[in-house]
């Protein structure tokens, strides 16, 4: 009988004890990007900018960018700084991957050479910024690797929607990168649950 009387008290104590922990549980950032003057709101990178005092270890799993039907797939990929990207060739023609700079820094230009169907070449991106992927024999091919400082990022779908999961509670700066539009910066507060954001990217 005494045990039953003590149960609510115990539950309350436990709730109060774990309350701070619940407050630091991951939330998410969801939203929509509207494109003005651009063909489409698709393939816009949305990411949490550098968090002062915080660094993140790159994932051990590699990210894959394929070359198929003379197209880089996916067209835009966002990676955490230090991530290794595998460039795969799935076409029965020789392809090449190079970038003339990373965010305009030509010292970071790189050319991976040529490799046949079924093979891949890897590169670890250790510098923040955007690498414009090109193929020197098929100049219409275009892709992008956006290297960011945090693991909290997403790429918009055809409707411009995005979802960034597992974002710890806190106050952050959200940024965008797009092929045609100017970057946008917006502050966002993430508590437990979902933070909704509406962004407009202009050409």
């Amino acid at each position: 009988m005494e045990t039953f009387k003590k149960a609510p008290i115990l539950a309350t104590i436990l709730f109060i004890a774990f309350l701070p922990a619940s407050l630091s549980w991951a939330g998410e950032i969801k939203g929509k990007v509207t494109a003005q003057g651009m063909r489409s709101p698709e393939n816009i990178a949305v990411y949490v900018d550098t968090i002062p005092g915080k660094s993140f270890d790159p994932p051990s799993q590699h990210v894959v960018v394929d070359q198929k039907k003379m197209t880089f797939i996916p067209h835009v990929v966002v990676v955490l700084k230090g991530t290794t990207v595998d460039f795969l060739n799935s076409d029965p023609v020789g392809h090449n991957v190079y970038w003339p700079s990373i965010s305009g820094n030509k010292k970071l230009a790189h050319n991976l050479g040529t490799w046949p169907k079924g093979e891949k070449k890897s590169f670890q991106f250790n510098d923040l910024g955007t690498a414009s992927l090109l193929c020197n024999v098929h100049p219409e091919m275009s892709g992008y690797v956006v290297v960011v400082a945090t693991p909290y990022f997403a790429v918009t779908n055809k409707e411009g929607e995005f979802e960034i999961k597992d974002v710890p509670s806190g106050h952050y700066t959200l940024k965008t990168w797009s092929e045609e539009g100017k970057p946008v910066t917006q502050a966002v507060d993430v508590s437990s649950g979902t933070a909704r954001v509406e962004l407009t990217v202009k050409k």
Partner: protein
């Protein structure tokens, strides 16, 4: 001094006008850039062309494969063809029309051409020749090409309007090709193809799709006796001929052969009963150090796919029987002597060397036309006897270097040795030389600006013991869409 200053300022003005006008108009002689293919595959011109219309290794393979990607063509097509029957109709044949396909949209490309020229001053006794001529030749060309399925391909190009020297008005090539017909005979891939219609012969170096602003002199050499006899052969190697050609590219295209039977009357209806024959063979030797890439369409370079390091040797032979005195209704008809047959041939050898950003190629050729002399030499002929044949020899050598993918330097040398032309007053010596340095700029993948200087041979000035050299500077652009 005044004359030199005037020449210099005129040259500067011509260059300035050319530079402004290239923004709007201009082109080079007929080429084979095919925007229709770029649209079909949603790919840039540079996929197949390294200095269009010149083809890179991939473009050569594409062309030889009936204007299809060498491997897995279907996966690259972005513009679905119109099916003219389900594939299963093949089983229903002959009780149904064999199924085919045609391009999903009109496979058309367009080009406007114009070449601005600046000529050296010509002696007045030779007539008036303007020092500058803005955009002549001047042509608008339609090009259509593609395939009607796995084994049928076609090409049509037509200059809708043209004018001036070196312009080619009218139909250029118009042919249908059956690719890999040898497959049905159990032969290796691409061993046997058949092409019918009007087409440029399988020349070592195309004239119709040349990168140069001016034609190759040796191709333009005809067998004309003039005052030296009766030979009056209109045949020119660089003019499209009408006929049937069989050929093939076995061994991944490293070996090529062709045999064509043609009218021999250039791109005109037949003018005689006999047909001519043209034969060509060539062998390419792949010089890539890495043996594993030799069978690939392109070599794997450190900065991307590139043409194989290679050297190609080839030979060609053309035989025909020109005929004169055929038409009894002609005012020139000579009665009682019958048809005059004058066999002729052209024979030559060629090479092409490629190494990274450098190409060197050339050919040598010998031409021989039977020449008959009238008997008696004066008055109405009663017959003809063999005279000294009309012969000529010569060739060309050209080098290209890509300083950048868009900036190409050229140097070309043409030479023709024709004793008959010399005797007929065409040149100071038996041998005519021409040196043509040039520069080409790919402003865009489908827009090219070309500059070419020609240092011509010495020509006699009539009624004077003097000679002059007709030099010239040409500029033009080529754009297609």
């Amino acid at each position: 001094m005044l004359q030199r200053k005037a020449s210099t300022s005129l040259l500067g003005a011509a260059l300035g006008v050319s530079f402004l006008l290239w923004l709007v108009l201009g082109s080079v002689p007929r080429t084979s850039a095919i925007p229709a293919f770029a649209r079909k595959y949603q790919t840039s011109c540079s996929t197949c062309h390294n200095n269009y219309p010149e083809l890179n290794d991939f473009g050569e393979a594409f062309k030889k494969n009936g204007f299809k990607f060498p491997k897995d063509d279907d996966t690259f097509v972005k513009e679905a063809p119109v099916m003219l029957g389900a594939k299963a109709q093949r089983e229903a044949f002959p009780k149904a029309v064999y199924p085919g396909e045609m391009p999903g949209s009109l496979p058309l490309g367009f080009r406007y051409s114009g070449v601005a020229t600046y000529n050296s001053k010509q002696p007045s006794s030779l007539g008036f020749l303007p020092r500058t001529d803005l955009f002549t030749p001047n042509a608008f060309t339609i090009i259509a090409a593609g395939s009607f399925g796995p084994t049928l391909s076609f090409w049509i190009d037509n200059d809708i309007s043209a004018g001036g020297a070196n312009a080619a008005a009218g139909l250029g090539d118009g042919y249908l090709k059956v690719n890999d017909i040898g497959h049905y005979l159990g032969l290796p891939k691409d061993t046997l193809n058949i092409r019918v219609g009007q087409f440029e012969l399988d020349l070592p170096f195309t004239q119709a799709r040349s990168i140069n602003l001016t034609p190759y002199d040796i191709y333009n050499q005809a067998g004309i006796a003039g005052a030296q006899g009766t030979t009056n052969n209109p045949f020119l190697l660089n003019i499209p001929q009408r006929g049937i050609e069989i050929g093939g590219y076995p061994n991944d295209g490293n070996f090529a052969w062709s045999v064509a039977v043609v009218n021999g009357s250039n791109n005109n209806p037949a003018t005689r009963n006999s047909k001519d024959v043209y034969v060509r063979v060539s062998q390419r030797f792949n010089l890539e150090r890495d043996a594993s890439v030799r069978n690939d369409v392109q070599a794997a370079g450190p900065t991307g796919p590139r043409d194989h390091t290679s050297i190609r040797f080839g030979g060609f032979y053309y035989y025909g029987r020109n005929a004169l005195n055929l038409d009894p209704t002609s005012p020139d008809f000579i009665p009682n002597v019958g048809t005059i047959h004058e066999p002729f041939y052209r024979a030559g050898a060629d090479f092409r060397f490629k190494y990274r950003s450098f190409e060197l190629y050339g050919l040598g050729m010998y031409g021989h036309d039977t020449n008959l002399l009238a008997m008696p030499a004066t008055g109405a002929p009663l017959g003809f006897s063999p005279g000294p044949p009309v012969t000529f020899s010569g060739g060309l050598a050209e080098a290209e270097y890509w300083f950048y993918p868009w900036f190409i330097g050229l140097m070309r040398y043409d030479v023709v040795n024709s004793p008959t032309d010399f005797l007929n007053g065409a040149s100071r010596h038996d041998t005519r030389n021409r040196l043509s340095p040039g520069v080409q700029l790919l402003v865009r993948s489908n827009l090219k600006l070309a500059f070419e200087y020609q240092r011509g041979w010495q020509q006699p000035i009539p009624n004077a013991q003097q000679f002059f050299r007709l030099n010239g500077f040409a500029t033009g652009i080529d754009y297609s869409f």
